[in-house]
Structure formats: structure tokens, C-alpha cells
């Protein structure tokens, strides 16, 4: 009896507009409203709405036997509310079935885990509150931005009250071991880990429509035979992928929706069960601790964090951003928090990557800028203006306090 744990990542960044030096000090709207709106509405039309409807139907048809998990960033939810509230409603409908688990993560899809414990805690608490409010669940499983994980990050997540965490089944960490078991964090062994089976996940997410692939075309029957076979040892197969895989990266014309429509029935027929992240982690005992002293992620061939913090541009932007946190905290202003949150989104740093060799295709697909340097200049212009605004607001606040004291 094998269990399949399906988990989908939902995220859209707030994209910045072209913000020039001449805008500084005068213009404090940093967002590219047009592209944010058009991209969100396009993805909603092609992916979120049809796929949510399909999942709802599959859950109803299979009477609770088909289950899956989501993590949705706070930034994505903000955009649902702004541009397509019907998407948020359809996620709420999925939550109401009781067959869908919502995981905790950072509110902004941020790299806060790499900045400091305080930054990370703030981001996670913000996200937990949002999930509770929107979907009525208190997350007990956690997935960090881009599956960024290390022993220490795992322990930090455990301290925040989570029982299970997702990580990449990276070859350099696992060695001969299989990702298809439950593992435990090396520092805090109560923290259970589910590791992504990247081969079987990427068969759907990346290779599904690749006609040069020797397994093309991929059918539900073929895929389930792989899941159930002896070739795939272990107890739980973790299929983690971007939700935009369905209808967006793999367009409807590739047959991806038909594949998903057929998958549950074929799988259940072959004795494969579905479970949410927390259910899968509870169902099996950890077979071993997993040592991961260095930070890893699910990105690129190297499975490291160099896509976000791999060159001097990214390091500079990152350190200048997080140097502001105390001032933001002092301000206690919803307006400033809003900007502070969207500036933390990891995508901004991803655009500044200069490692184009092995994974250039994937990088350029997601990048609205002509070059890493353009991305850096634009981000720093926005950040510089934000710094000035923060300083001004702090001065105004101090002046107001003085006045009330005198009075």
C-alpha cells in the first residue's frame, strides 16, 4: 500500500513598475498595476479557476479518498482580493470539503528564514493569521519559500509550533536513501519531514508535454504503474509542484487536466492512497534523521539558494532591505507594512540572478526584466524611495509625540 501526498504551491509576486531615479521622492506607487492585474487574471482563467473546479469535483466523486494540500502566499491572496475574488472563493470551497490541508509558510514568499529569526517569525505569524481568517484552518505543517531548508531552519519552524515540514529530496542530502519515507529533523527529532520526489514530481511539472521525452505521452495509467511498482520503493511518494503547472506551465491543450481527472480513479484502483501532508506524516514513523547542515532549496540543478542570494547584487539588495526592519516595526503602520511585505518577496531577488548557464530557460521564463542589472537598479530605486518615506514618517511620529508631551 503506497500513499501519495500531493502538494501545490500558489504564489504570484506583486511586480514592480519601471521606477526611475526621477520618480524618487515624488511617486510612491511602486507597483505595475497593469501587468499585475493582467497576469493574475490570465492565470486565474487558465489555471486557478478550472483546476480548483476539477479538484472539487474529484474530491466529491471520490468521497473523501482524494486529498491534497496547498500553500498560498499572503501576497497571492492580496491579489485574489484585488483582481479576482472568485478565485479566493473557490479555494474556500476546497477548504470546506475537509479533504484539503493548507500549510503555513512566509506571508510574502520571502527569504526571511535566511535573514533572522525575528523576521522569519513575523512573516510566519502573519501568514498563519491570514490562513485562519480566510480558510478557517490553523496550519500544523509548514513549507518554507522555495522549499528552503536546513537543520536550523527546521528547528526554528518546530519552535513556532509546526509538526511537519516539507523539504527537497535532494540527492546530495539523501545519498543512497529514498525520499519516499518520513524523516526527522536532526536538531529537533519531533519535527517530521516529507521530502519531495523530484523525479516523479518533475515528470508532471516539467516533462509532461515534452515531446522529446522518451516517455511521452504520459498517461494516468502509466504514471500510476510507476507509483505502484517495485521501482518506487517506500511508503509515501511526495509530489510537490507549482500549482501554475496546471493550465499555465502545461497548457490545457497538453491534456494536463484530463490527466489529473483520470489520476485519482486509476490510483485508487491500483491500491494507491491519497493523504494530505499532516496525514501522511502521522501515518508513518520516521525512518531516520536527515542531516542538512547547509541551506538547500528545490531550485535549479544545484538545489541551493544561489538563485536568490548568489551574487553581490542580490546580497546588497537583501542586506539593505532587512536593515530597515527595526524602523518598520517602530512605525506600526499598515501602509508601510504593506510595502514592506511585498518588497520581501523572493521573486525580486530571483530577477537579479546572473547564473544563466544550466537553468537559464526557467529563469528567463519568469523574469520581466531585460537583465539582472535592470532588475537590481529598479529594485534599489524603489527601496531607496521607501527608505526616504520611512525616515520622513518616523520624524513626523517623533514630532507628534513631542507635541503631545508639551500639551
Amino acid at each position: 500500500m503506497k500513499t501519495v501526498c500531493l502538494y501545490f504551491q500558489v504564489h504570484q509576486p506583486w511586480r514592480l513598475k519601471k521606477y526611475r531615479f526621477f520618480n524618487m521622492g515624488k511617486d510612491h506607487n511602486y507597483l505595475d498595476d497593469l501587468s499585475n492585474r493582467s497576469i493574475m487574471q490570465k492565470v486565474a482563467r487558465q489555471c486557478y479557476l478550472p483546476m480548483n473546479a476539477l479538484l472539487l469535483k474529484l474530491i466529491q466523486e471520490n468521497k473523501g479518498k482524494f486529498r491534497c494540500s496547498f500553500s498560498i502566499t499572503g501576497i497571492a491572496v492580496e491579489q485574489f482580493k484585488a483582481y479576482c475574488p472568485e478565485v479566493l472563493d473557490s479555494f474556500k470551497a476546497l477548504a470546506a470539503t475537509g479533504c484539503v490541508e493548507f500549510l503555513g509558510e512566509t506571508y510574502s514568499h520571502s527569504l526571511a528564514a535566511l535573514a533572522s529569526k525575528e523576521d522569519f517569525t513575523e512573516q510566519v505569524k502573519l501568514h498563519t493569521a491570514m490562513i485562519k481568517k480566510e480558510f478557517g484552518q490553523k496550519p500544523t505543517a509548514f513549507r518554507n519559500t522555495e522549499l528552503i531548508y536546513s537543520d536550523e531552519i527546521g528547528a526554528m519552524v518546530s519552535e513556532l509550533g509546526f509538526k511537519t515540514m516539507l523539504a527537497e529530496g535532494a540527492r546530495h542530502i539523501l545519498g543512497w536513501k529514498s525520499p519516499n519515507y518520513v524523516y526527522a529533523n536532526a536538531i529537533d527529532q519531533k519535527m517530521r519531514l516529507l521530502l519531495r520526489n523530484y523525479k516523479l514530481s518533475d515528470d508532471i511539472a516539467f516533462r509532461f508535454s515534452n515531446q522529446g521525452w522518451d516517455e511521452y505521452p504520459l498517461t494516468a495509467d502509466k504514471y500510476v504503474s510507476w507509483l505502484a511498482s517495485e521501482e518506487t520503493p517506500g511508503e509515501v511518494v511526495n509530489l510537490f509542484m507549482d500549482y501554475e503547472t496546471f493550465g499555465e506551465h502545461q497548457g490545457a491543450e497538453t491534456g494536463i487536466f484530463d490527466f489529473m481527472k483520470a489520476l485519482p480513479k486509476v490510483a485508487l484502483g491500483a491500491g494507491v492512497e491519497f493523504a494530505t501532508v499532516s496525514e501522511a506524516a502521522k501515518k508513518f514513523q520516521p525512518v531516520s534523521v536527515l542531516h542538512c547542515p547547509h541551506v538547500m532549496s528545490w531550485a535549479d540543478e544545484e538545489r541551493d539558494i544561489t538563485a536568490w542570494l548568489g551574487n553581490e547584487l542580490q546580497n546588497e539588495a537583501f542586506s539593505k532591505l532587512y536593515a530597515m526592519k527595526e524602523k518598520i516595526a517602530k512605525l506600526k503602520s499598515a501602509d508601510f507594512d504593506y510595502v514592506w511585505n511585498f518588497l520581501q518577496t523572493s521573486d525580486h531577488f530571483y530577477y537579479m540572478a546572473t547564473k544563466w548557464l544550466s537553468d537559464g530557460d526557467v529563469h528567463s521564463y519568469f523574469n520581466p526584466y531585460d537583465s539582472a542589472y535592470d532588475a537590481f537598479i529598479n529594485y534599489m530605486n524603489v527601496l531607496s524611495d521607501f527608505q526616504i518615506e520611512v525616515e520622513k514618517a518616523l520624524e513626523a511620529k517623533a514630532a507628534a509625540r513631542k507635541r503631545t508631551k508639551k500639551a
Partner: protein, 437 residues
Amino acid sequence: MRVLMFGWEFPPHIAGGLGTACYGMTRGLARNGVDVTFIVPHAYGDEDQRFIRVVNASDVEAVYGSTESGADDILDKISFIHIDSNMVPYISPEEYESYHEEFVKTGKRVWSTTDSWKQRYTFSGKYGANLMEEVARYAVVAAQVAKNLEGQFDVIHAHDWLTYYAGIAAKRVSGKPLVVHMHATEYDRSGENVNTQVHAIEKTGMMAADCVMAVSNLTRNIVINRYGIPAEKVVTVHNAVRFAEKQSAAPERGVDDKIITFLGRITYQKGPDYFVEAAAKVLKRVPNVRFVMAGSGDMMNHVIRRVARLGIADRFHFTGFLRGEDVHKMFQLSDVYVMPSVSEPFGISPLEAMRSNVPVIISKQSGVAEVLDYAVKVDYWDVDALADAMYGLIQYPALANMFSAKGLEEVTNLKWNNVAAKMKTIYERIVEESKNK
């Protein structure tokens, strides 16, 4: 005095300082009573016609009659001939080749015979396949122009190496004396890695000329020492500057901090590195200052990385390439303008900054340093001195005020009229000399 001048671009189609200089110079000459027939590659038909008579010649055998509009007596002094060519100033043979390839891709028919000297010049859409060929073809046309205009000029004046062959050809046809004008040398453009073909043309032009005009003593020294041109033949004629009558209103400042600006191509020759290093030093002492690097160029990415590594990216901003009104806006937003050029034959941009009341810091290795008193001058490599000067100008208002007030006065007195008067005496001298030969 009548001059046949092989020059570059006329407003409004100006790509750089060369066109601006030609324009100012021609106006100045006209005011000094010199007749100028001005020949440029590629005219567009909407040039400023108050001071010139545009004569479009899409092929040389049909030089059109002058279109006179006698609103100003100076108008009669200049005629303007357009030779169809895709040569542009500041182009290197390598760049030309890549432009040319693009030209081919866009589907236009390209004239491709290698023996350009034998071609009849039916020009429309047909240009040389490489720059050297085009330079040669331009010379053939120039010879024809000189022949057609025989007896209508006393001296020939060629600007920049691309027109030197044209100047020589015109001299051979007409027997009139030739002046070549060195706005920049190949050593300024390429450092020590000179393009030998370009170098050879420059040298040939200067050897064939009766007089070489250099835009600064710096350039004059290079001409004498590196090209081996006899010193008595080389004279320094500093550029001047001409400003639009109307200054547009200063834009509203967005930030309260002081702004120190670098504006120009971000290339080795312009010394952007030294600006960055000095900026980092200043920022260690003064928090309320911002640095702006306006422009683009092959060193831009390198500079961005360096700025990031120095950890000053929230105080050091890049605007990319600026055009027209934005350039003006940038000057007006600046508190200090810096031109740390490693090698600059003249350098007109500090003058534009001074015109906007901005104190300037320039490198001693720029030609413009020879004509300015109210500018802080430092060695381009002396980052400490550069940082010192920046610090002084933003921290001590008295100093900045002195430089901006006196600087404006100084720059207002750099008039093309005076330069043109000097040029006129030189013309007269060489015409006299050539008659006696």
C-alpha cells in the same frame, strides 16, 4: 573668405559633441563674415535653416540650387550639402560592421562591390559594406563636389578622421589648402589598443593638411608626440559653447539630499570607476548625499556590481541613457557635476553643467581643464582628491556658491564668435602661404 567644410550633423539631429561643435563653429564663422559650404553625410530635411542654405544632393551630378531664404544676412554665408551616406561620428570599423549586418537583415539592398573607387555614385540605399569602403566612397563624392564648386571656396576644412580622405580628395581636385580638425585621437577612443587603419587615416590626413587644428593642448601634444606631426603645423583651437536662449524651469526636487552626478558614456575613457570609489569614501563621512550615474556603456554592469559590493546601492543610482530634456533635468537636479575622464580631448558636458549653475569637478586629463578657472581640477586617478573635492562642494556652501556664480560667468564668455575669429586668421594665413608656394 570661403570655406568648404566636411562636417557632421546639424541640429536637431545631434548624436554627440561633434555635431554641436560643428554647428557652433559654423555660426561663429558666419558672424565673422566667412562663407561656409557645409557638407554632411545624410541630412534629414528639417535642419535649422536660419543660418544655412540647405543643398540636398542625393547624387552629386545634380547639386540642387541653393534654397535661399534671406531673413538674415548670415544666411547667405552658409550653404549645406548632403551626401547620402550612413557614416556617423564616433563610429569604429567594428561597430560599423555590426550596424551594417543589421542593415542587411532589415532587408534593404546593400551595395557590395569591393572596388568602391570605380563605382558611380547612385546612392539611395546603397552604402559601403565596411566603414573603410564607405570612407573611400565618401572621398570620391567629395572630389566631385569640389570639382562642381570650383572657384567657390578658398580653403577646405575636414572634421574627424572619417572625412579626412574626403578633404584630401577635395584638395587634390581644387589645389586649395586643407585644414583638418582633431576632435579626438584614436588614442583617446581606444587607449593603447589603437585601430591601425584609423590611426593611419588620421596620420595621412594630418600629413596632407596645411594646418591641423586640435581642440586642446592635450590633443595637440598627442598629435605632435604620437603621430609625429610637425609642431608648427598644429594649432590649438579650443571649443566654445552655445546655449539655447531659453532655460527651462528647474524641475521640482524629489529628494532633500545633495546630488552628485556623473553624466556620460560609462566607458573606460570616462573614468566611471574613480567616481564610484570616491562616492564610497564620501558616503562614509556624509550620510545626506546621493550619487547618480547617468548614461550607459560597456562598463555599466561592472560598475553596478562594484556599487553593490561596496554596499552603497541605496545611495548610488543609475538612470540609464538620458535624452534631450532629461539631460537638462539631470543637470538642474545636481549639486555637483563630476567628469573624471581618463582621457578627454575637450569635454563639453561640464560647460553645460556650469550653465545650469552647477559647480563642476573635472579631471586634469581633460582638454576643457585648459579653458576653465572656476572648476575643481583633480587627477582622474586621485580618488582621495576627488572625494575631498566632492565633500568640500557639498559641505561648504560658500565654496559651492563661488564656483557656481563665477562658473556661470566664465562659461558664458566662452563664445564661438571669438573662436571663429581666431580660425579666420588661421585660414587667411594658410591661404596666403599656399599662394606663395
